[in-house]
Symmetry: C2
Subunit: 397 residues, 2 copies
Amino acid sequence: VSARLTITTGDPVTDLGARSVVQFEHRHGIIDLSWGHPDPALLPVAGIRKAAAGALDRYGPDALAYGASAGPAPLLAQIADRLEVVDGRRPDGDELLVTAGNSHGIDLVSTALLHSGDVVLVESPTYHLALRVFRDHGLEVRPVACDDVGLRLDTLADVVRSERDRGRTPRLLYIIPTFHNPTGRLMSAERRGDLIEAARALDLRILEDDVYRELSYGEKPPGSLWSMDDQATVVRLGSFAKSLAPGLRVGFLTADPATVRQISNSGVLESGGGIAHFAALIVADFMSTGEYAKHIENLRRAYRSRRDALVHACQEVMPAGASWSIPTGGYFLWVTLPGNVDPEALRAAAEREGMSFMTGVPFQVDGQGEQAIRLAFSRYSEADLREAMARFARASI
Amino acid sequence: VSARLTITTGDPVTDLGARSVVQFEHRHGIIDLSWGHPDPALLPVAGIRKAAAGALDRYGPDALAYGASAGPAPLLAQIADRLEVVDGRRPDGDELLVTAGNSHGIDLVSTALLHSGDVVLVESPTYHLALRVFRDHGLEVRPVACDDVGLRLDTLADVVRSERDRGRTPRLLYIIPTFHNPTGRLMSAERRGDLIEAARALDLRILEDDVYRELSYGEKPPGSLWSMDDQATVVRLGSFAKSLAPGLRVGFLTADPATVRQISNSGVLESGGGIAHFAALIVADFMSTGEYAKHIENLRRAYRSRRDALVHACQEVMPAGASWSIPTGGYFLWVTLPGNVDPEALRAAAEREGMSFMTGVPFQVDGQGEQAIRLAFSRYSEADLREAMARFARASI
């Protein structure tokens, strides 16, 4: 329960006492690297305050009316401009739609493009909560193995073939090619091109989760799969959750016009109008003033320094035989532990010392063991990260 | 395309020219009573401007972080307090969840509680876009006839029986008991009680669409079906779209704790956090200052007067043999036309005279004809409504 929790009614509301304002659950005395959340100190409160007033000043009641189903044009224009810079391809207006964030994008696509019982292929490991969204829609999920530069295309073909042998037709591949969660991996440009070709040959559509693109700490990452696609193979999801503020619940998707039209004409968007209308206009205002580009530079600087602090600490405290790659973007460091270390037991010991992390198990489709742990460097300062890893070291003895 | 549309980038963005800020499509020279939208002049722009600043001042970065999955506690508390006043029952904290509006509530329930191929029963006629949401989820929809006080329970039992005879088990009844869309009908308290008993006997759950409750122009309406339910039969949807501002995309649902937990634990809410976090805190701030209760009084006064103006105009211009009931709340007047009038032809003639409305067809599950039209009195002033009906009169000659 957040320390900031204030029930705003006059009387104490005991039956709401277990509820909080935010999702993050602070556990006393624990530096918790299990959360893929931004540092509250990096959320631009003053800028959003100004942008909210700016959106209302500029659009008046239109900012509060039922919004255009695909999202308000001013935000579509801002996103298009920004993607031209950071992704090398500018979507046309009919290739773009505003979502209530990445998870909501997965949800919309699951409803609009898939049917209960369809098979969805995912990287192994993959973002654990995406699996939950797919399963909520009655979809079956199958893992595909990866190597150092991304999804293994030979395995992809094998999995599709074996599913077809059992009478199932995989429809969609869900993939995070850029600063992958949980591994931090960046798929090479060459593998991206090969993957698109492979997907077409296998009659698969690709759902590309691209939420970490803005958070790059080295060279600019290769363009999205969507930026390389001219045959309606890829639906790409983006979000302002990592690059601006998750509480605004504003994201977007880019796809071919027919797919965008199908989603935009869905009952939920036709009925309610744009899913995050006012928040979308706030983001548009924030982008139009140049605040967004400056904010991204700040985030890159802050997270790069945190990544470096965490990597440096790992070099000092990780047990012999542990290995990791240095992520060039995103939120996470993925550490493979030597075979003699039990990740679950290590986590229990770490929590007794006052730090925590996620083990690899939830990121596996089959819940099987994984000799790895995920450390998020997004939420804490360099000093906190160093302290967390000192506690980790005490737990590892 | 709205006159307010401004593309905020420097250059003209022609490929976004077809997109707009808002959903409402203004047609030059037409007073369009087909839209169930609030009057932009009744949207509290200044109040929301203050509430947005208030939420950020009070909660700081917590207003922009990932929000609690079921919605932020301050809004849950405000909704609970308000329902005690307007619905006669205060939900406990674990009986309440924030949605991104009513349509999103239907969407969440369709994903969480139903499976593709399930049968959903609806009133005939019913809200046409709810049908679209159900169908997007692969659900089958069956109509149940109504009389003057609500759903016919004998027909309900007949439909359930006949579905079972064909091997289908209806799971859910979607119903709008209070100021129904499109008919404006208010279900009697007695019928409400009988309906809950009937639903239990038939092993049906009820999805109650309760978005118009605040907009009552006479006596306080009977309590919601949810307020009368102690056996987890009813999920009730509410929204701030009609009572405050649709562009905020904030609504709620009340249900038994197990159902709320199931929806709150869904992938999309676990992954993204509360679906409208910042907007929800804006609403909470607006409610906490007393602005909301005052705003509702203003809306009731304004819409009551518009209803009266429209009803009075109908008494003057409707063809002999037309009939309607005076709605005691909501947005709509439902007029049954005499058999010699073709609603579709009348609408075409009305558009030539400069006004429009919806015919009854879209509100029918089977798209069959319906000798009725829906006139929304929410979006236009009394003067505009009178002018619209004068044009209608010219079209009816």
